[in-house]
């Protein structure tokens, strides 16, 4: 509750300004500040939190404005209700637009979203709605959102702003917020950690459409008085939104407010002072201001100021106890698998890229409670195999079954939630999130609210022996990074973990730490499939070993036997390695 204090403060300041400003024109400026801040906040939900920059948010702004005003003009319905209808229409539009468009990414997505409001604009002109004046209602104007007193519009916009701030605040601290931050930082890692990125984007998009529609309706009544397609679907709307967000700071609920509070009064002041006397100069000065702001604070003023602030107070780090804590991977509703039973079955899986057979009729069986090693020369198909198992690639042929049910074709996040975890050759972190938040993303695979997710994450971190909860990944060593990724994996309560070269880049003691951890994980009942090149470690660690070469499985069995297999030596190990190993003590 205390964290709502800043929002309450902002609202209070808004109310104070409403009742202290004297001139009518100043109220208009205040209303505009609040309107654009709200629109910026709405945009921020999808483009800031989720990182999906949209150039088409004015589609929802315009839908809100037009639906509300057309309902007034054609049916006499009060905009107080019409606004709700506008909101519903915008949400429906968001679903219809999002479904096909989220297949695109980056600038493609951004420009594709631009196409929709441009289409709406043309259609509105075609339908004859070039100019829709809002009829002035002289008796009971308040029932039609028409007020003589400009302060009422200030309060109306302030209410919209407050509501959107609350929405943003709620998203930030919710499971959705973690999902969005994760997918923004690294979409694939988020998927592997159990975040259904498509669903998260769709939810964020629809949530962002609603406030845009509401503020569009308010804008039409408070500012425009006549709705034209260009005024609400036009490029100037998204330009203004981008300006307030990018100047203020993207990805924070305070950014749009800061940007709006600076740029809108600046623009109006320029219009009011020099613009009327020397038309055009206000555009030059405003443009220069934009250039300067971007040179001074390209990340936005909020973040720039944040970089100047002292570091946050540290979160209490979990104590790393001498006695290694239990690894808990139970999930409600999921029955434990009998040790030794077939957990993951790969049958005849093939996958080719442009004619090159990366996987050729590979069949593997992973048993519950074992550590299975996968070795082979570079390009043998090991990581490709993992990508198929984990859902990043579809097999061209064959099946993958987990606990008896087929999983090929499922999204990686769905596979993760079923119980298969994954780490990557090069650690995939969410760089802007703290270590604890990174691990919490994994915890959200099964937890729905932050407190239990946090508990699970802390437990996972304690289990792997990682204490630096409040650091960012950039400050971690390679070993700690791998521990973090493993903790994130464990927090999603897997039955099976796919480890892709977890020992790469580690010194001898790091290798031993990781190896010991893998054994503990297995002992806790989690099966492990591990790709590795560090042969001496692999040979000591795994229960069974599989060798891939040119996409085919060329050997399988106990490590001792496999490493002496002539085909394996030929393909991968080499005679010298064998002699070297035999020179060491016998691993059996």
């Amino acid at each position: 509750m205390r964290r709502l204090l800043p929002i309450a403060l902002v609202v209070l300041v808004g109310v104070a300004l409403t009742f202290t400003l004297a001139e009518r024109y100043h109220h208009r400026v205040l209303t505009l500040v609040l309107v654009w801040a709200t629109m910026g906040l709405a945009w921020n939900i999808i483009s800031g939190y989720a990182g999906q920059t949209s150039f088409g948010h004015q589609a929802f702004f315009g839908i809100g404005a037009y639906v509300t005003v057309l309902l007034v003009v054609t049916t006499g319905l009060t905009p107080w209700i019409g606004m709700a209808a506008g909101m519903v229409a915008a949400v429906v539009a968001a679903v219809l637009i999002g479904l096909p468009t989220f297949r695109l990414a980056g600038i493609y997505f951004a420009l594709a979203t631009l196409a929709y409001p441009l289409i709406f604009r043309i259609v509105m002109e075609y339908l004859g709605y070039q100019e829709v004046p809002i009829p002035m209602i002289r008796d009971r104007p308040a029932a039609y959102m028409q007020f003589r007193d400009p302060r009422a519009y200030d309060l109306l916009a302030l209410a919209a702003l407050g509501g959107t701030l609350l929405l943003s605040h709620w998203i930030e601290g919710s499971r959705l917020g973690y999902a969005l931050r994760a997918l923004k930082a690294n979409e694939q890692a988020a998927e592997a950690a159990g975040v259904d990125t498509f669903r998260a984007k769709m939810v964020a998009y629809t949530l962002s459409a609603a406030p845009a529609a509401v503020i569009g309706a308010i804008y039409a009544h408070a500012i425009l008085f006549v709705v034209t397609p260009d005024a609400v679907f036009g490029v100037l709307v998204i330009v203004q939104t981008l300006v307030v967000c990018l100047v203020g700071g993207v990805g924070s609920k305070w950014g749009p407010l800061i940007g709006s509070a600076i740029m809108v009064p600046m623009s109006e002041t320029l219009d009011a002072t020099v613009g009327d006397q020397l038309p055009g100069i206000q555009g030059v000065v405003y443009g220069a201001a934009l250039v300067l702001v971007m040179l001074f604070a390209p990340e936005g003023i909020y973040w720039r100021l944040g970089a100047l602030r002292p570091a946050r107070r540290a979160v209490e780090a979990p104590r790393v106890s001498a006695v290694a804590p239990r690894i808990d991977t139970t999930v409600a509703g999921r029955s434990p698998v009998e040790r030794g039973a077939a957990l993951l079955e790969v049958r005849g899986v093939s996958r080719a890229f442009l004619g090159l057979r990366a996987l050729d009729d590979v069949s593997i069986s992973v048993r519950a409670g074992e550590v299975l090693g996968v070795i082979g020369p570079n390009g043998a198909g090991k990581t490709t195999l993992f990508n198929v198992l984990n859902g990043f690639l579809l097999p061209d042929a064959g099946q993958v079954r987990y606990r008896g049910t087929p999983i090929h074709g499922l999204r990686p996040s769905a596979i993760c939630r079923r119980g298969i975890g994954r780490t990557f050759q090069v650690v995939r972190t969410f760089p802007q999130l703290t270590v604890l938040d990174n691990v919490m993303v994994g915890a959200f695979a099964h937890e729905t609210s932050p407190p239990p997710a946090r508990a699970r994450a802390l437990a996972a971190m304690a289990a792997v022996g990682l204490g630096r909860a409040d650091d960012v990944p950039g400050a971690l060593t390679t070993l700690d990074l791998r521990l973090m990724e493993l903790a994130r994996c464990l927090a999603s309560a897997p039955d099976l973990i796919l480890l892709d070269e977890p020992l790469a880049g580690l010194a001898r003691d790091g290798v031993e730490t990781m190896a010991a951890l893998v054994r503990r994980v297995r002992d806790a009942g989690v099966s492990v499939v591990i790709i590795e090149h560090t042969m001496y470690a692999v040979v000591q660690l795994v229960d069974r070993l599989i060798v891939l070469d040119h996409g085919r499985r060329i050997a399988e069995g106990r490590p001792n036997d496999v490493v002496r297999d002539p085909a394996v030596i030929e393909a991968y190990l080499g005679q010298r390695w064998l002699r070297h190993v035999e020179g060491l003590r016998d691993p059996c």
């Binding site: 493609y108 981008l242 390209p298």
Partner: protein, 297 residues
């Protein structure tokens, strides 16, 4: 609808598309190499139009030649702006932040250019009176407007020159390397920053030349860019980011679609045809017509 009627629509669309195509190549180069969304692209086109106009009115230079003459000064302008402004915005290594910041930076630049021009040259529209703007070549039953035809040919030539530069010369290859993988290019000894400056300079020069070609039949005013900027971006994305032939094809396609849409939809919805085509292409081929597939996992 006879064959000759249809042929007229196709020819008209291609001629219009040719100039869109040239405008778009400049943008494609800038975006492909630097990942900059240059909001001011259309305004440089406008300045190119004005320069061509003054050359025509003051020195009697034919605008087709004038368009070519805009290339050297605007190249320098582009390099200068890159050096003075764009290099200072680094985005802290985050490509999304960088794109956002440069978007606002170039937006600011656009406002300065448009409003500055309004103040200095007045908003009075100008036009270059050329004989060939109102004459046509008759190829059978099909009429090809002469001004647009010359503009189309020159656009093709310029695009060809750029293409040869990028694929056959060492400098061009260095530019593409810097676009594909700046880090690796750096290791190869390529000065990536200089490459960016080069790309921006060429991109601005190309769009100014496109403006000059446009000025053979289109009136010139400070706000002329607003009619073309969206189409430019659509063409670049349609063609596939990072692909110069793609952007050219994208521009041609847009011109063609604009023209052919008139056969199926009411005239008012002409650009709706363009945007729907744009969306369809992206859904079927998310990387654009000629773009590279985004790297797999």
């Amino acid at each position: 609808m006879s064959v000759s009627d249809l042929a007229q629509y196709v020819v008209t669309g291609l001629l219009v598309g040719g100039v869109y195509a040239l405008m778009s190549i400049g943008l494609a180069l800038i975006f492909g190499v630097m990942r900059v969304v240059n909001f001011a692209q259309g305004d440089f086109m406008m300045l190119g139009m004005y320069l061509t106009y003054f050359l025509a009115v003051v020195s009697g230079v034919d605008p087709l030649l004038g368009a070519l003459l805009t290339i050297p000064p605007f190249f320098l302008v582009g390099v200068g702006i890159h050096r003075a402004l764009l290099v200072r915005v680094t985005g802290g290594g985050d490509p999304q932040r960088l794109m956002d910041a440069q978007l606002i930076l170039t937006l600011g630049l656009s406002l300065i250019i448009t409003n500055g021009t309004t103040m200095l040259l007045t908003p009075m529209p100008r036009g270059i009176k050329t004989a060939y703007a109102t004459q046509a070549f008759a190829v059978g039953p099909v009429l090809l407007n002469q001004a647009r035809s010359y503009a189309f040919l020159l656009a093709l030539v310029l695009a060809g020159v750029v293409y040869v530069f990028l694929t056959r010369t060492d400098l061009g290859k260095a530019l593409r390397a810097a676009a594909d993988d700046p880090e690796a290019a750096g290791y190869q000894g390529i000065d990536v920053r200089a490459m960016h400056g080069l790309a921006f300079g060429v991109g601005i020069a190309l769009v100014a030349a496109a403006g000059g070609l446009l000025a053979t039949y289109h009136p010139i005013e400070p706000t002329v860019a607003v009619n073309f900027i969206v189409l430019m971006f659509v063409a670049v994305v349609l063609g596939g980011l990072g692909s110069i032939p793609g952007a050219f094809a994208g521009g041609l396609l847009i011109g063609l679609v604009q023209s052919l849409t008139l056969l199926v939809l009411p005239f008012q919805l002409q650009n709706v045809g363009v945007f729907i085509t744009f969306l369809l292409v992206l859904y079927l081929r998310p990387q654009g017509l000629f773009g590279q597939r985004l790297r797999a996992v």
